[in-house]
C-alpha cells in the first residue's frame, strides 16, 4: 500500500467522518463522545504488534502497557456507551404510567 493510496483512504474517510458525525442527533452527543473514545483505541493494533514482537524487551513492555491502557478505553468506552444508550432505549417503548417509584 503506497502513500498515496493511504492518503486517498484518509481523505475519503475524513469526508465520511464529517458527514457521519453531522448526522448524529444532538441528543446523542454524549454517547458519541464515549463511543469515539472507544473506537480511537484501535491504536491497540499498534500496541499488540509491539507486544507480540520478539526482539526488543523495552518495546515489548511498552506494547503491553499500551495494550492495557487501550483495553481500559475499549471496554470502558463501549460499556459506558451501552449503558447510556440503554437509557434512551427504554423510552422508545410506551411511557410507563407510574414510574415514580423507580426513580429514587
Amino acid at each position: 500500500m503506497d502513500f498515496i493510496s493511504t492518503l486517498s483512504i484518509f481523505v475519503m474517510a475524513c469526508f465520511v467522518g464529517y458527514y457521519v458525525v453531522w448526522s448524529v442527533t444532538p441528543a446523542l452527543h454524549t454517547p458519541l463522545m464515549a463511543v469515539t473514545n472507544a473506537i480511537s483505541s484501535v491504536i491497540i493494533v499498534g500496541a499488540l504488534i509491539a507486544a507480540a514482537a520478539a526482539g526488543s524487551g523495552y518495546a515489548n513492555w511498552l506494547g503491553l502497557i499500551a495494550v492495557a491502557l487501550a483495553s481500559v478505553n475499549i471496554f470502558g468506552g463501549f460499556a459506558v456507551t451501552a449503558r447510556m444508550l440503554a437509557m434512551y432505549k427504554k423510552k422508545d417503548r410506551p411511557v410507563p404510567v407510574a414510574p415514580a417509584e423507580k426513580a429514587k
Binding site: 500500500m1 493511504t6 483512504i9 484518509f10 474517510a13 475524513c14 467522518g17 464529517y18 457521519v20 458525525v21 448524529v24 444532538p26 446523542l28 452527543h29 454524549t30 458519541l32 463522545m33 464515549a34 469515539t36 473514545n37 473506537i39 480511537s40 483505541s41 484501535v42 491504536i43 499498534g46 499488540l48 504488534i49 509491539a50 507486544a51 507480540a52 514482537a53 520478539a54 526482539g55 526488543s56 518495546a59 515489548n60 511498552l62 503491553l64 495494550v67 492495557a68 491502557l69 487501550a70 483495553s71 481500559v72 478505553n73 475499549i74 471496554f75 470502558g76 468506552g77 460499556a79 459506558v80 451501552a82 447510556m84 440503554a86 437509557m87 434512551y88 423510552k91 414510574p99 415514580a100
Partner: protein, 489 residues
C-alpha cells in the same frame, strides 16, 4: 544515532507476511479484515443518528474492534499471548468496572480520563515502533527507519503526548481536583508557539538523525505543551477542550495508521478526528464564541470579575408551596434544565414532578439548549437516565416559539441559556448566543441556590428581577422534592 536497536528476525508469526525491507505488504485477507473493521466503525457512528438504531451501532463498533484485535493477533504471532491476555484482562476489567460505577453526572470527567489513556497509549506505541521498527515493518534489518515513517511516528508521539497531558489537566479541572480558574503564565503565547515550533523542527530533524535524544525531546516537549496549553483555560471551557482533545486522539491514531498502512486505524482516526472537531465547533457556535478565544484561554477569569456588581434590584422569592400551586394550575409547563440540575442530581425527582403534573392534566415539555450543562448532549443523557420520554424533550429551535403560550417556564439550574442579555446587551460575553425566550411565559420559576451564584459566563441575569419571576432559592433536588410533596397533597 543511538536509538536504532537491531533485532533478531521474528520467527513466531502465524500468517507472517511482513516484507522486512520497508513497506508492509500484507495479505489481501488481512487488509480486507481491517477495512471491514473500519466500515463497522463508520456504521457505529451512523447508528447514533437516532436512539432506535444506536444500540445496534454500538455493537457494530464492538465487532469492528474485535475483528481488528483478532486480525492483529493472528498475523503478528501468538507468542506473547499470555502476557497480552493478562494486559487486556486487567485493562478491560478496570474499564468495565469504571463504566458500571460512574455516575452519569461525572461523564465529562470520565471522557477526559479515557482520552488521556488513548494519548498515552499512542505515545507508547510510537516509542515501541521506534525501539523495534522491524516489528512494524518500517525498517530494514539494519534498523534504519524510513524517513516518511519517522515523520508519522514523530507526529503520532507528539499528538499523543499533547492529548495525554492536556486530558489529565482537563480531567483534574472537571473533577474539581484542581482549581477551575485559569492559571495565566506571563508570555504564555510566546512560550507555546516556541515550543510548538521546536517540536515541529525536531520532527523535521528526526528524518535526518534517528537518535534517541530527538524523539525523547519531542516527547518531553509535547507533554509540556499539553500542560501549558490547557492550564490557562478556565474550568468551564473544559468541555470544548475535551472535545478538541478527542479530535487530537483521532489524529494521533491516524498518524500511527499511516505508519502501519492500517486501514482500520486510518478510517478511525479520520472519524474520531472529525467528530471531535465538529463537536468543538458546535459548542463554540452555540456559545457564540470563537474557537481561538476558547483556546487562547483566560475566559473564566474575566467573567468572575464582571459578575460582581449585582443584586441592587428588587426580586421576588417563592416557596415550594407557591410553586406547586401555580404549576398545578398551569396548562403548559416548559422545564429548562441546566448545569445546576446535573450538580444537584435532580433529574429523577424532576421526572417525578413531571409525572405528577401530567397526572393533573398539565402539558409538560422539556427544553434543552445545545450548550446546557457542560458537555454536548449532557442534559439529554441525564433526562434519559431518569426515564423522561424522548418525545417530551425538545431542542431550542423547535420549542422557542411556544413560550408565549406557556404558563410556567421552570428553570432548574440553568442560567446563561435563558439570559436575555445574549439578545440585547452587545457588551455581554454571551452576546449573540441563541437563548430561550422565557420572558414571554406568563410565570417564570428560577431554581438556584443563591442570588450570588453566577452561571458559567459569570454574568448577571435580568430574568431574576422580572415581574413574573419567582426565585426558588435552594438546592435543585431539595426544592423539587419539596414541590413534589406539595403537589402530592
Amino acid at each position: 544515532m543511538s536509538g536504532a536497536v537491531p533485532v533478531a528476525v521474528h520467527t513466531d508469526y502465524i500468517l507472517s507476511d511482513i516484507a522486512p525491507a520497508g513497506g508492509l505488504s500484507v495479505s489481501p485477507w488481512v487488509a480486507l479484515a481491517y477495512l471491514a473493521a473500519g466500515v463497522l466503525f463508520i456504521l457505529a457512528l451512523r447508528g447514533l443518528s437516532s436512539p432506535s438504531t444506536s444500540q445496534r451501532g454500538n455493537r457494530y463498533g464492538m465487532i469492528g474492534m474485535g475483528i481488528a484485535v483478532v486480525t492483529t493477533l493472528l498475523t503478528h504471532g501468538l507468542a506473547s499471548l499470555p502476557e497480552i491476555g493478562a494486559a487486556i484482562a486487567v485493562g478491560g476489567g478496570i474499564g468495565i468496572i469504571t463504566a458500571r460505577r460512574i455516575k452519569m453526572t461525572d461523564m465529562p470527567q470520565l471522557v477526559a480520563a479515557f482520552h488521556s489513556l488513548v494519548g498515552l497509549a499512542a505515545v507508547l506505541v510510537g516509542w515501541a515502533a521506534y525501539l523495534n521498527p522491524q516489528a512494524f515493518g518500517i525498517a530494514g534489518p539494519d534498523g534504519v527507519i524510513e524517513a516518511q515513517s519517522r515523520v508519522e511516528m514523530g507526529l503520532g508521539i507528539a499528538i499523543g503526548a499533547i492529548t495525554f497531558s492536556g486530558s489529565v489537566i482537563a480531567f483534574l479541572k472537571l473533577a474539581g481536583k484542581m482549581s477551575g480558574s485559569p492559571i495565566m503564565l506571563p508570555g504564555r503565547h510566546v512560550i507555546n508557539l516556541a515550543t510548538l515550533a521546536a517540536i515541529l523542527g525536531l520532527i523535521g530533524w528526526f528524518t535526518q538523525d534517528q537518535g534517541l535524544w530527538v524523539i525523547a525531546t519531542v516527547t518531553v516537549l509535547a507533554f509540556a505543551i499539553g500542560f501549558l496549553l490547557i492550564i490557562p483555560i478556565g474550568g468551564a471551557d473544559m468541555p470544548v477542550v475535551v472535545s478538541m482533545l478527542n479530535s487530537y486522539s483521532g489524529w494521533a491514531a491516524a498518524a500511527m495508521g499511516f505508519t502501519l498502512h492500517n486501514t482500520a486505524m486510518i478510517i478511525t482516526g479520520a472519524l474520531v478526528g472529525s467528530s471531535g472537531a465538529i463537536l468543538s465547533y458546535i459548542m463554540c457556535k452555540a456559545m457564540n464564541r470563537s474557537f481561538i478565544s476558547v483556546i487562547a484561554g483566560g475566559f473564566g477569569a474575566v467573567a468572575a470579575d464582571g459578575g460582581e456588581a449585582r443584586e441592587q434590584r428588587p426580586w421576588k422569592r417563592g416557596s415550594a408551596e407557591d410553586a406547586a400551586f401555580l404549576l398545578g394550575e398551569a396548562e403548559q409547563v416548559i422545564i429548562i434544565p441546566g448545569y445546576g440540575m446535573a450538580v444537584a442530581q435532580a433529574q429523577h425527582v424532576l421526572r417525578e414532578m413531571g409525572d405528577l403534573l401530567k397526572a393533573r392534566g398539565v402539558r409538560v415539555k422539556y427544553a434543552i439548549h445545545p450548550v446546557a450543562g457542560r458537555m454536548p448532549g449532557h442534559m439529554n443523557v441525564l433526562l434519559a437516565e431518569a426515564n423522561v420520554p424522548y418525545d417530551d424533550v425538545f431542542e431550542l429551535e423547535d420549542i422557542n416559539g411556544e413560550f408565549a403560550q406557556t404558563d410556567v417556564a421552570f428553570i432548574i439550574g440553568a442560567n446563561d441559556v435563558v439570559n436575555p442579555a445574549a439578545k440585547t446587551d452587545k457588551t455581554s460575553p454571551i452576546y449573540g448566543m441563541p437563548v430561550f425566550d422565557v420572558e414571554k411565559a406568563k410565570t417564570i420559576m428560577f431554581i438556584k441556590r443563591s442570588m450570588g451564584g453566577v452561571g458559567y459566563a459569570g454574568v448577571d441575569n435580568d430574568v431574576f428581577y422580572m415581574d413574573q419571576t419567582m426565585m426558588l432559592l435552594a438546592d435543585a433536588k431539595k426544592m423539587v422534592e419539596d414541590i413534589n410533596k406539595a403537589l402530592a397533597h
